[in-house]
Symmetry: C2
Subunit: 259 residues, 2 copies
């Protein structure tokens, strides 16, 4: 499994991905799932990937032009005039790679699926963020849906729903994402440290500030234990439920049903 | 979808289930997923069900003896000498019902799956709680795994992991479960109000206090909005992340990679 999030903010874009890859619980490895292509002063694009690692690595390698392909993909990405066009290039590459496994085994196509997040900015346009499906089509983030998650998305979603705000600063966004990742890592063994974090500042048109958070990172440890305590304190402060008269009255009805 | 939880406490057992059933998003209905069989003074058993509604309703009807079956299932449940034996009866019934659809369509067996939680107490034994799989086998809750969730389990799990304690009172347990359900309902349309709640007091051997929480229930509304506020406050109080020297140093390394 995998957990990656791309977030749009007024100030720019934030990306975070775990690095765990597993083929069964007895075969766990660390692989980066975050790839960035930069043309300083003009454009920067970052891809996050989930799903079959062979598929997404091939997609990234084709796009970064490390594989002889029919056309010059990297220059196609580097020349895309809009992020929308770039998303289309990534999507069709993803679709083509997955399709190439379609006849390999009974359900090869499904097994070798991948889903990607593409974010970035090209001079003359706003920072934009896309979610790209295995079928090669894609959707763009908006004010209503300002972030995308891929992989094991559920455990970490409730806190994003509640605490995200488009106007938050980068520091708060990183804190929020670490809380979301901590909830996921505590619940699903197949999502694991280290985490790759990247922060892209709007209109900077260069590689965003990127760093890795590994086991033993003081801040992550503090969030991990601190958030548990904060949740328990928040829970303790909630108004307590009481079995009041109305509940007791309703329960009479049930008691008469006994066999 | 569905979300149900069975919880063991020092004081007894707590069950909660949503009531939403859907065949597509355009066909949503309300069905109870909580069924109780009581022999006052001697035993009480409660079943929660998720999965295909036709399957689980048939299982419950067979077990409650409303369908002519080969053997007298209700009396078998009513005569089971241990909860373990009762779980075995529920499991084999579930397996038999699912198996009867095995040849109905290409993947009938998988499509008509169901999973159940069975809890209860028989005089002379402790209150016990089981998770019963579509294959008919089952596992029992223990001090290490003191609760079971079925259906859409992920959104509501982080708060259970953090705030559950075996020694909590019934009122706190209901509050905790409502928080867990609220997170799930906010994230997945196919889990919905009203909720059925039942509280079984250890050694009472009668139908537990059962009530329904519907839209507009003052306490649920208060939890629903109050928990969102509490989460945001807890988040705001976390120590803030800062892009300190070490991060900045590492980022140099990344900046030099630009293409």
């Amino acid at each position: 499994m995998t957990y990656c999030v791309g977030l749009t903010l007024d100030d720019g874009l934030v990306y975070i991905s775990d690095t765990r890859t597993n083929a069964g619980v007895d075969d766990i490895s660390v692989f980066g799932k975050m790839h960035t292509i930069v043309k300083p002063g003009e454009r920067t694009m970052t891809m996050l990937s989930s799903g079959n690692l062979a598929t997404t690595q091939m997609v990234v390698n084709i796009l970064e032009n490390r594989i002889k392909a029919e056309s010059d993909f990297e220059s196609r990405l580097a020349d895309a005039s809009t992020m929308f066009e770039a998303a289309d290039i990534v999507g069709s590459t993803l679709r083509k790679v997955i399709g190439s496994f379609a006849d390999k085994g009974s359900d090869g196509e499904k097994k070798f699926h991948g889903t990607m997040i593409l974010g970035g900015q090209i001079a003359g346009d706003e920072p934009r963020l896309f979610l790209i499906y295995p079928e090669g089509n894609f959707i763009e983030a908006s004010k209503d849906t300002p972030y995308f998650q891929i992989g094991e998305t559920k455990y970490g979603k409730p806190i994003l729903i509640r605490a995200y705000s488009r106007s938050m600063c980068f520091e708060d966004a990183v804190t929020l994402l670490l809380v979301s990742f901590d909830s996921t890592i505590k619940s699903n063994l197949s999502v694991g440290l280290p985490l790759d974090v990247q922060v892209y500042s709007r209109d900077s048109f260069r590689q965003g500030l990127q760093f890795r958070i590994d086991k033993g990172n003081d801040y992550y440890e503090m969030i991990s234990s601190g958030w548990g305590d904060a949740l328990r304190r928040a829970f303790d402060r909630l108004p307590k439920f009481s079995f009041d008269a109305s509940v007791a009255a309703e329960s009479e009805h049930f008691e008469s049903r006994s066999a």
